[in-house]
Structures are given as C-alpha cells and as structure tokens.
Amino acid sequence: MGKKGKKLHLSGPAIILIVLVVVSSLFINSFIRIGNINNILRQASMLSLVAMGQCIVILLAGIDLSQGSVMGLTGVSTALILSKGVPLVPGIILGLAIAMFCGLINGYLISYVKIPQFVATFGMFGMALGVALVISDSRVIWGFPETVRVIHDGEILGISAPFVIVGIIYLIMFWLLKFTRFGTSIYAIGGNATAAELSGMPVKRNVMLSYGISGLLAGAAGIMLMARMNSARAIMGTGYEFEAIAAVILGGTNRLGGKGGAVETITGVLILAVVRNALNLIGVSVYLQMVAVGFVLIVVYIINQNKGSNPLRKWFPVKNKGLVSGTTGNGNGR
C-alpha cells in the first residue's frame, strides 16, 4: 500500500513488519535469538500455505471458511493412508487430491450453483470436519511411518524442509498470479467480474479452480502439520482459516481485487507470526491473542476498505441511466 503513483517498493505492511521486528528485538530479550526466529518461521509455515490459498479466493472477492477442516481431513486421511502401508509419495498425493476435491466442490457450488461463498464454505467446513471425525473415529492417529517426518525435520542444502516447500509453493503462486492468463483473470474477476466475463474469460471455471487451489494448499498445510506433530486429529486445523484471512488482510491484499498476491500474503503471515511470538514471550495468554487478532482484523479491514473504494468513485464516469422505456432495473430489490 505505498503511495499511489510513486514507485515505492516498500509497502505499508512491509514497513509495519520491519518496525515490529526492530521493536521486538530491542525490547524483548529472547526475541532475536536464532532459535526463536527459527521457531517463528517454522510455526508460520503451515499458515503461510493456508493463507496463500485464502489470498487467491479473497482476490476474487470471496472467502473460504473450510480450510481448517480440510486441513484436518487431509491430515487424518493421509495419516490413515500411510499407516496402511501406502508409500510416502503416493500417500501424500492421495491426501492432496482429497483436499483439492473438497476445494473444487466449494468452487462448483459457488460458481455454478451460485450458493453464497460463506454458506458453501461454511457447509464444507462442517462436512469436512464431520468426515474427518468419522474416519478418524474422533481419535488421534499415530503410528504411521516415520518417513513423513522428513517434511518437517528434513533439510535440503542446509535449509529446513518446510522453508523450502513454502518457498517453492510461493514462487509457483507468484508465477501463477502474475505471469499466467489464469492469474490475470483472478485480478480481473475480482476487480470487475462483468468486464472479465465480457472479455470472454472463463470466469466460472477459474473461480472453481481457485477454490480448488485453496483446498489443495490447505491440504498441504495439513500434511505439514501432521509431519510436525507426528500425529493427526480431525480438529487440528481448526482456526487456521481465520488466521489466514487475518494474514491476507493484514498483508495489504485489497478485498475487492486488484492488489495483493504472494508477496503481500507472506508479509501478512510474518506480521501475525511476529506479533504472536512477541506476545507469547511477554506472557500474554493465548486467548487474549485471539482477541487481539480478531480486533486487528476488523480494524485493518475498515482501513483497507476506505483506501480502496474512494479512487474508484472519483475516476469512473457517472452511471448511464438512459434506458429504453420498458426495461427497468433488475429482478429483485438489491
């Protein structure tokens, strides 16, 4: 959210992040230690995946409330699949497929059946959670092969595996959003869906795919969490979608489309992670952190909104009301 017109490469949220890190390092002793930083980043890995998926959906002026349950469902399913002896890679692929399937169902309901997003994803939240509880019999799942822990504990060229995974996924998402027609269509649909449709873009298909990606990334986060905890529970992802929404909004992605993407999302994730960590080190209870995040979410949303809507009204021409007599308005009073 840098100044309009000027080519400032440091956006508002980026500055906030830097300030937070500096302040925390200065005032909190244990903050700047390598171990703590590592911790922060590791904790943030799961959220960064979920948030990236949520970002795409939010760019479409939508929302995905089902990510947490999909995380749980994927984690539990993958754990079960692996403990049945399926080798690591196919097992993970199957789990991810389940996750993507959930997302595509969301996308289908929202795009083709035109169910409001929060209803469809809220319903999926219930359903995915339900299925996860059923197949896991509400227990914690242990005893799957240790190999999966490589996702969390392994290293590639000296860098922790989660960072590599997140890094690769973010690079892919960055490319997807900024260098493909699919990506441009996401911004277009979020910015002016009618214009996007008139330009011949496959709006319905792309919206459905976007929710599929959101589900897929939630599933990936679920597997990563499973690897981290070496166990899986149906409810392990609960709350992540909320954090993800907060992260995306904090990062500066403008809800009504046009602004935002991989860079903004990771910034938001890090802001959240740093704030959480700092509050933890100071001794603020987990519950109050929940309150703080809820509060900040609303405030940032309000600020974001005011920034987003005004320029549009200034520059766009006055609506043309010249209709031929006989055609009046649209069907319902909205």
Partner: protein, 496 residues
Amino acid sequence: MEKNVILELENITKIYPGVVALDSVNFQLREGEVHVLSGENGAGKSTLIKILSGAEQPDYGSIIYQGKKRSFKYAYEAQRAGIATIYQEFNLIPELSIAQNIYLGREPKKLLGTFIDWKKVEKQAQALFDMLGVKIDVKTKVVNLPVSKQQMVEIAKALSLDSKVIIFDEPTSTLTDDDIVKLFEIIKRLREKKIGIIYISHRLEELFEIGDRVTVLRDGKKTGHHNIKDIDMSKIITEMVGRKIDKQFARDLQKPGKEVLKVEGFTSKGVFSNINFSVREREIVGFSGLVGSGRTEVMRAVFGIDKFDSGSLHFYGNKVEKSDPLKSVKLKLAFIPEDRKSEGTCLNLNIRDNIILASMASIFKSGIINLHEEKKLVTQAIKDLDIKTPSMQQKVKFLSGGNQQKVVLAKWLLTKSKIFIFDEPTRGIDVGAKAEFHKLINLLVKEGAGVIMISSEMPEVIGMSDRIFVMKEGTIVQEFSREEASQEKILKAAIG
C-alpha cells in the same frame, strides 16, 4: 448490396413487455464513415446498440455483417467478429494497467507458453496508442486515469481486436472540450483505416462536425435518414420529436398557493450547479432534459439522499441546513424514485407492508401497530388508487409495473405528504395505467400538494406541468410556461 456497406440492419424489431422498443428499423453503415444515430431518450438507440453488440437478440429482422447474415448470442461473439462497442460505463478493470486491460485474456506468451510476455504486451499496447497519436504510459493503472484517457483505452482495445465497426455510445457526455477535440482526431484516424463508426450522441453540434450521415429514431421507428450536408438542425429536431400529441391529459389547472419548496444556488460539485427553482401548492413543476443532465441528482439532494455542497434549501419558507430522508419524510415530502424495483418498493414484502412503510411511525406513535386500523387504511388506499390485486397479502413482486407504482404512491399518500417528487413516474407502464396515474397526480394537486415531475416523455411533461424547467449538463438552461412550451423548444434547450 451497396458498395462498401459493412453492416446492415434489416427490419429489426425488438419487443419488451409493454413496449415496442424497435419497430422495423433499417440501418446501414459503410466502411470509413461516421454514421450518427440520433433520437430522444427512449427512442430505441440503446436497444439498437445492445442488439448490435450481442447483448440482446432481435425478435424479428436480421443483421448482415460483411455480406453475411449474422447473429450474436454473446457479447464477445460480436467483439471477436470485429464489432466493438464503447459504452458510457467502461468495461475496464480498475487496478490493472492500460496494457493489461487491452490484452485481457489474450496476452502473448513466451518461453513455450509458460510466461506471459509482459514486455510484448506493453510494446504492442504502446504501438496502438502511437497509431492513435496519443502519448500515454501504458503501465499506468486504469483507476489513475482521467475519464478521457480511459475512453482511449477502450478505443485501443477495439483496435487490438481488429475491429471493423466501432460503436460509440454517448462518448462525449463526460469529456471536456479539449478531450472532445482529441477524440475527434482519433475518430478521423479510425476513419482513415476504413473502420465504420456508429456514433450516438444528443449533441447535435457534434453531429455536424464529425458525421457523414445521420439516422433519426423516434419511439422505436426510423423517422429520417440523411447525408449531413443535406440537412440542418431544426429538421433533425423535428424528426426527433415531431409527433402529434393527441393524448388528452387530465389536468385541471389550479391557482397556485403558498410556496412549499425553494431551492437557491443549489450546487453539488461535479454533479449540478446553481440550481434555482421554487414549487408552490397546487402546481406541477416539470423537469425535462436529457438523461444524465442531473435532474435525478438534484431531487435526490433535495430529498436528502445525497449531500449537496452549497446553496440553500427551504421547506415551507424555513431554511433547512442538512436534509436526510428521515427529516424529509417528517416534513411531509415524498419521493417516488425512478427505479421502483430497486428503490421504490420492497419486492419480497407484501402490499400491506409496503404501503404502511413510510407512515407507520407517525400513525402508530407507540411503536405497536394496530392491525385492525392498518387493514382499514390499506384497504382504503387500494380502493382509492384502484390497485388490482387479489389481496393485500400479495407480494409486490407479483404485481404489474403500473400497480407497483401505485403501491409506491399509496405509501406516500398515507403520509399525507404536501410535496411530491416524481422521477419518471410512468416509465414502463402500459397506456391505461399511465392515464390513471396522471389522474391521480391531478387529484393530488387539486387537494393542495406541490408536485415536481421529472420526465423524459415529452407529451407527459408538456401535458401535465404548469411550468417546465429544462436541465442540461447539471444546470437549468431554460424555463417555459405551460403555454410557451413545445416539444421542439424543449429539446432544443436540452440539446442546444
């Protein structure tokens, strides 16, 4: 088929519920010509455009494009075929750049199709603007552009689609004089490239500056078709409005009473300026003018829906500082909006709920509604206005347009309002209901109300009003008394 004719419409007819929008219209466009399409509001121009651009299908008649009969079921079919339409509301994505908008969905790729080649996109976009003779940075976000430049983006987009026909729908209504000069230069260049241009505008002076031929529509029919050099302004105006007014309007002229509403120096930046008028008891003040001239905006500000920047508002001789709908209703004002479906009624609620809506707080001061009394009032209202419905529990969305409008009026009658503002009260209503409505308004006036009527239907405005104000581009340009007014005079003032 004449030489060089690129687009032809034969006997195009389009019917909407209650009205014939286009009646066997014939139209012809040659390569490299600027063919102006002229006519009043509601004459059928927008419908014609919608049919040409694929947004609507004609009920009868055919489109012949490049020698072949064509039908366009979707907007982008027409676009892909080479017919581009530039509307007043631009179809651009605000947060994307000019270049991105032009090539939306068609971006050239590199590296075996894996990456969009943004450099190429920018280069090609730049080339288009060079062709148009416009200096612009194609990386600018559309939202940061002034309206005139946004329009050029649309034109560049049309060029990039290799359009053979470009339709301009009221292109100059939001442009400054300098912008207009630039636009005309661009149009001349397009002409040189043998692109056929359909140009819709109310501004007749532009017609003579840029047009080669003109076709005039009135009430859905073609009334004239000329070469520009063979015609003059007054002939066109006659063709636009020269209809016989054979309808009798039920108007019992009254002697006007006290002043109930006065507006002085009323201004809202960029929307309307220096509006001055007054309304007295027992008179109807008509507001005529082209769509977009600011009439609705003025009245919305008077009623308090929108804010105004300067000037003063007086109700019953008392100055009002700020107005808002609550206050206005308490002061016995009534506002019957243009769009009864999205602004006038709650479609999902029943007739009873709608009718009692504005008056329930003042009638039932305790906050509890006496159902028995409500039933009495509503039944009486339905009877008085002759609203045709099986019962008052009927949901408003199932009523006909005329009856819906009557519900809106009934709502305000129960508030015993003294000042009524009607915005296009009989638009989209069948002839019988229109007459009934006029009778009702006449009755209102007889009983002492002051009425403002915004209307684009000439016969209605002339037949009903005691005085008529004509607005153009946000200001009042002329006032006519009932005797002085004529269709030609009003249109001339509105266009002038």
